[in-house]
Amino acid sequence: MFLNFADTRLIEYLPKVIWPALLATLRMLFFSMILGLIIGSVVAVFLVLTSPYGLKPNKKVYRVLDFTINMIRSFPVIILIVAISPLTRVIVGTSVGEKAAIVPLTIAAFPVIARYIEMSMLEVDRNVVIAAKSFGASDSQIIFKVLLSEALPSIVAGLTTTTILFLASTTLAGAVGAGGLGAVALTYGYQRFDDVMMYAIVIILFVMVLIIQGIGELIYRKIKK
């Protein structure tokens, strides 16, 4: 792949397109990950609580949650965007643009996050849970003070991976006019055969990946032991 530096509009686009797109990506990623984390944690807690091996086994609730998560995960993101557009319209008033993109991104993210958290909590030493029961910790205390807390490093590692995964997914937000770096790379780089632009954006994405991974590892190390 040869890079044609003569034809690129990178310099021109850098402040006018790429910078706002970077901010748009950051905003979308931030809000969808935060919302995904909130919803995902709640769902994970209920999964762990109601699972057959959980603290308050409840087949019905577990099945419903499990089913919902699996269903959402089976949607290709672009189709999810379309499928939930009526919902998106209800929530943010439009199905187009940055705010609208956060809805499907969040909905795509929370099942992944919920599974990660569930998985991490399942790996917590059973004896510690038993000890917590022995002094009368309530279910919610066991979840929050024992399971979530003990699983935290593993959850942080999972969140890092998910965030990086969804950085790439914000690309798809371009489909609904939300802009973002991925969309710029596609529209102004890939579609226009401006390889310099494309790789410049990939490098920006790469730096973002490095930063996310770095922050993730820093937190992991901080909280692990």
Binding site: N4, G174, A175, T187
Partner: protein
């Protein structure tokens, strides 16, 4: 996915056997297409068969990759993108694709709205959905500039939003996926859309507010590598697309969507 039930696996294999038999005049042809032209290419197969060709097609859902595949000879040719798009691809990738003369047809593009009857009705800062791929963004912008609603800078070949020099109505263009413009009709004041997508969405493509004035600038036709431009099979393929039979099929199937270039 391809249409013929047996095509699916066959097409992939053929691509590989093609590779080795590239120099001799092939009787077996693989033509790349996408959802928009697939039915037409499928209709061409029996016409080509009569001429003694064993033709199959390979379906892509990404326009650029049909050209990549043709250029690296993974397929023999394609029938999908319009000429300026191909030329742009050639320039950027040092490729040598040519669109066979005569061209076949063009598809119209227009501005549609579910809220307003004309551009004039639209308020200051009205939101307008525009396709985010290079060629169609340029084409869409030129609809507005030809109609005098915006002014594009003179010295660009493929205009983008940054090339809008004057925008008196303050139109707020939002870039999005080709079919997504149609889907966002109820969220936007107006959208730029292909007639074909409007039709597929079950909407009336004749109900445009304004349309492009120069569809012939965006002709679609058979695209092959330059070295195949004189090959008989390529000529035969063009003839097949332009045959009365196929014209009739296109009129019937696409309901007047395609405007044949004569």
């Amino acid at each position: 996915g391809c249409s013929g039930s047996s095509n699916e696996e066959a097409s992939v294999e053929e691509v590989t056997t093609e590779e080795s038999a590239v120099e001799k005049e092939p009787l077996d042809l693989v033509i790349a297409c996408a959802e928009t032209t697939q039915a037409l290419v499928d209709a061409v197969i029996p016409v080509m068969e009569e001429k003694g060709y064993q033709m199959t097609y390979q379906m892509f859902d990404n326009n650029v990759n049909t050209m990549v595949a043709t250029n690296d000879e993974s397929v023999d040719g394609l029938f999908l993108v319009h000429k300026p798009f191909m030329e742009n691809f050639n320039k950027a990738n040092d490729a040598d694709l040519v669109m066979m003369e005569p061209h076949v047809f063009a598809v119209g593009m227009g501005v549609f709205s579910e809220r307003y009857e004309s551009i004039e009705e639209m308020p200051e800062g009205a939101s307008v959905a525009i396709m985010n791929d290079a060629m169609n963004m340029d084409r869409g912008l030129r609809i507005f500039s030809d109609a005098g609603y915006i002014k594009l800078s003179e010295d660009v070949e493929r205009a983008t939003l940054l090339d809008i020099e004057e925008n008196p109505m303050g139109l707020n263009f939002v870039e999005m996926d080709q079919t997504q413009t149609v889907r966002s009709l109820q969220d936007m004041d107006a959208v730029v859309a292909f007639f074909s997508h409007m039709k597929n969405a079950g909407k009336d493509f004749d109900n445009y507010i304004i349309r492009d004035q120069r569809p012939e600038n965006y002709p679609q036709g058979v695209i092959v590598k330059e070295k195949n431009a004189d090959a008989q099979w390529a000529k035969d393929l063009v003839d097949a697309f332009r045959s009365e039979e196929i014209r009739a099929f296109a009129d019937d199937y696409y309901g007047g969507l395609y405007e044949y270039i004569d």
